[in-house]
Symmetry: C2
Amino acid sequence: MTAPSDARSRGTRLPRVRRRRQLLAAAQEIFVARGYHAAAMDEIAERAGVSKPVLYQHFPGKLELYLALLEEHSEALVEKQREALESTDDNRQRVIASFRAYFDFVAGDGEAFRLVFESDLRNLPAVREKSEQTFQRCAELIGEVIRQDTSISDEEAHLLSIGLVGMAETSARYWINTQGSVPKDAAELLVARLAWRGISGWDLHRGGEGQPTGQDS
Amino acid sequence: MTAPSDARSRGTRLPRVRRRRQLLAAAQEIFVARGYHAAAMDEIAERAGVSKPVLYQHFPGKLELYLALLEEHSEALVEKQREALESTDDNRQRVIASFRAYFDFVAGDGEAFRLVFESDLRNLPAVREKSEQTFQRCAELIGEVIRQDTSISDEEAHLLSIGLVGMAETSARYWINTQGSVPKDAAELLVARLAWRGISGWDLHRGGEGQPTGQDS
DNA sequence: CAGGTAACTTACGCAGGAGTAAGATGGCGG
DNA sequence: CCGCCATCTTACTCCTGCGTAAGTTACCTG
């Protein structure tokens, strides 16, 4: 568990690009495990089997190193979300795919989600903006879908989307932190069903265009 | 905005208990504005119109000072939540009250919610536990209500509760961060409605005990 | 009004960790 | 085989910010 990810090659010289990738991987492990503040550049270097100045030949400072990782994984999440929503035309399936995307994100890539969802650097404007922007972009993708099928205002649709994204993020994080109690598929479907029941046929009472037929399991 | 909350009394001696309360208030302002790491004990002392050692006569260290505040506001949230759920017997009203409690919490007490929801010290076990425990307790309160009215398993009910609490927290935070775009009442009701549509009559398809009558606006 | 004690101050020690000179090394083109 | 440049290392500097030692002032009690 504390085994160096790539110290097999202590003393080995690497071409620039390869080394950079390896440094990013080492940094991710440390940042994820300790958070930004408790992570020491010395430890990151050590984990990569390299001395500290090497780190500074690839990144101007600790902050930039962190931001590089944050950027990468934020984009990955938005991309996953976009793919999920484009994967089908059926809105119910869309909801399921969307939640699955969140659970996949949280389950994948060495717990990188902790950088995006649990950053201890949110007080830095640059980081706060990135986090919120990522969140907003995910919500906006969902918001568009909602707007297509309902007659509610843009602002309201956006607020609903925010709520749904929050639900997805929160439940996915809860699920990953309590691994073993609920299988992934079941958790995804359960929460997706909650969301779908919430939004489907939203404006029926306004004289909507057809009640969801109720088969939802 | 940067006006010292209580430096009117620079040079004034205060009885111990009064001073302690004032120090907590000053600390809250700084911690909320800067986060734990960027907050300096010097600045907290200055804000209170007092010199640093005074701080240390009341709290053993920065961490304990922070934990005192975290504890206080975490308990306040859980209490608000409990009151909301006890305020009525009608589950639909319960949902609304529950969301209102979150919005109230977020709107009140000098943005103290940032300590509970956005702490930059979550990597410290003591803080992580407190946060998660607060979250769990809120979810558990809701979970009990859900279990009373549905036949789903305890684990599933809990997961749903987690999702709902996440939705409440997220939408409340979004609302407070974009003050002015949506009135509080409208936001609360909108999201509460989303949640209520999601859970009400959950297990009808199993042969439940009566369909919700559909009047939900 | 004197003396004691709680409240408070100035001024410092000290540790941890980011970032940096200056020098060593190894492989590759000539 | 030799010199050159990219790669890497040791061994520092320096700053920030927590926590404290020692000394000072106001209030209160006898």
